[in-house]
Symmetry: C2
Subunit: 301 residues, 2 copies
């Protein structure tokens, strides 16, 4: 089924204990689309400024990513992010950020994308996520990401969004903050009571937890990767792999969802092995399937 | 096969966000033995002072725990530990400690225990662990726990011990510290190179990682328990469940080991649901098997 993503395109400068990359391609919709494209077609919606140094059509040339929702806005500047990962790469510092075009009006969803069935609203202000969602006529499954900034500053908008989506994806600190509870499971259940029928908690190298409104639960460790060089984009790649698999499967029963989360986990493990998108552009779907089988073996008892 | 444990017996005073317990029974060998006794007989070696307020034979009355290695030392005082768990119960502060009898000579392993095949050396000074191990004539599988104190202060003794054991059990911070590497997998592999053929990394609510010398790997999330009231004894219960299952199975191939780690995970999830040993004394082996099946369902994809 059709899959649409809205999110950022960024000029990233990244330092990690294993190297650095200056002004490389990043952004949530870019990582998401690259990850999801292993499973099926992706409809891309995002905006850059006229200064954007990247040739996105070339980046996605061999992939089934429809860029007709990519807007190059004259007179605007592209989103810029500089981050440093610490020795414990679960911790990172944002050194510098220019929101630029991200603080202007969101891009328009093209007419031809409005019948999309699977929708991922990558992290941005929840009011904008709602506005983007309203442009989709009859979505079958909507997932959204969020972050501490909106939980702290735009909680009413976020709660309104939670009534409109099927699935919230967020990290462990965020779910605790949103729910005001320290137990992850209690926190996830409290967020379920705010509207979505699924909550997916990303725990970085500790894996993920999925809670469903009817009591379903799924837990998965991260893929045990020795090779971690740049964690940037791990969460968006996870979401891309998961949503890509779900859209391809065309259903969201809990068993399919568990497999989708496992695919997301595996795709993210490739992302973090190299800087920018290099971990994803160097692999095939067969590599992903092979690593999924390894993950199954590593977790079997 | 026969299973022997050496470790501490403590008078614990515990505060958590969910309650408190004063001068309750604790200690590594106590939690270990209670956990392991669900799977088969346990040989207990430990020492208390003459002030010990607990009736250990009564505590283990209905369990197959042989207390002939329990020494009540005249003129000595029992180990005392006071700890407080924070709102994030992965963090705890030791408020007060009296090592007392633990800093004296270790207990003697009774003659009848010296043919033990499975041995667990709970956390104590590594020189004492070696001394205790030398009293076992021909062990088949020896596992040991350790901690930051010995990694920092008695590294030579610890390295000597690592050449004498099959399996080291430690937490994520400790393995990073011992190996001087931030990646858990690289750290575990570096510890394998120091001697043991298995390294088991306990990550609290993030589960566990097992690395074998021949490249075997197993990863498991913690049991997703909403009910966490007192994490004390989780690690020792994990080890008890694991070693209890291994001794019962009578082999340590990697498949059996993975199942043993899953049993350890499940037993620990019962321990943390209540204060002191109450989470373990209120359940049966059937409860453990049922929860193991739940964990299998929660992790299947």
């Amino acid at each position: 089924m059709s899959l649409l993503v809205t999110g950022s395109i960024g000029i990233d400068t990244i330092k990690t204990p294993h190297g650095a990359s200056e002004r490389c391609l990043g952004g949530s919709s870019v990582y998401f689309s690259m990850a999801a494209s292993f499973f099926g077609p992706v409809r891309f919606v995002g905006v850059v400024g006229e200064d954007c140094p990247f040739d996105l059509p070339a980046v996605f040339r061999d992939r089934d990513v429809d860029l007709s929702g990519l807007e190059v806005r004259p007179g605007s500047k592209t989103f810029v992010w500089h981050g440093t990962y610490h020795e414990d790469m679960n911790e990172r510092t944002t050194d510098y950020v220019e929101l630029n075009v991200l603080q202007e009006a969101p891009p328009t969803v093209p007419e031809a994308f409005r019948d999309s069935k699977y929708v991922f609203l990558a992290n941005t202000a929840p009011a904008l996520q709602s506005e983007l969602l309203q442009q989709i006529s009859a979505p079958a499954f909507v997932a959204a990401d969020t972050m501490n900034l909106w939980i702290e500053g735009q909680l009413d908008d976020l709660k309104k969004l939670l009534g409109q989506i099927d699935c919230l994806v967020l990290n462990d600190e965020e779910v605790r903050q949103l729910a005001g509870k320290s137990s992850l499971i209690e926190a996830a259940r409290a967020v379920l009571a705010m509207g979505p029928s699924l909550v997916i908690v990303k725990k970085g190298e500790s894996g993920s937890l999925v809670c469903g409104a009817d009591g379903d639960m799924f837990v998965l460790p991260a893929y045990p990767a020795a090779d971690v060089n740049d964690p940037t984009g791990a969460g968006d790649s996870f979401a891309g792999g998961m949503m890509g698999y779900l859209a391809q499967a065309g259903n969201t029963d809990f068993e399919t969802l568990a497999r989708a989360v496992a695919y997301g986990t595996v795709v993210a493990s490739f992302t973090i092995a190299d800087f920018s998108l290099d971990g994803l552009t160097s692999i095939t779907r067969a590599d992903i399937d092979s690593r999924l089988e390894s993950l199954r073996n590593f977790t079997r008892f």
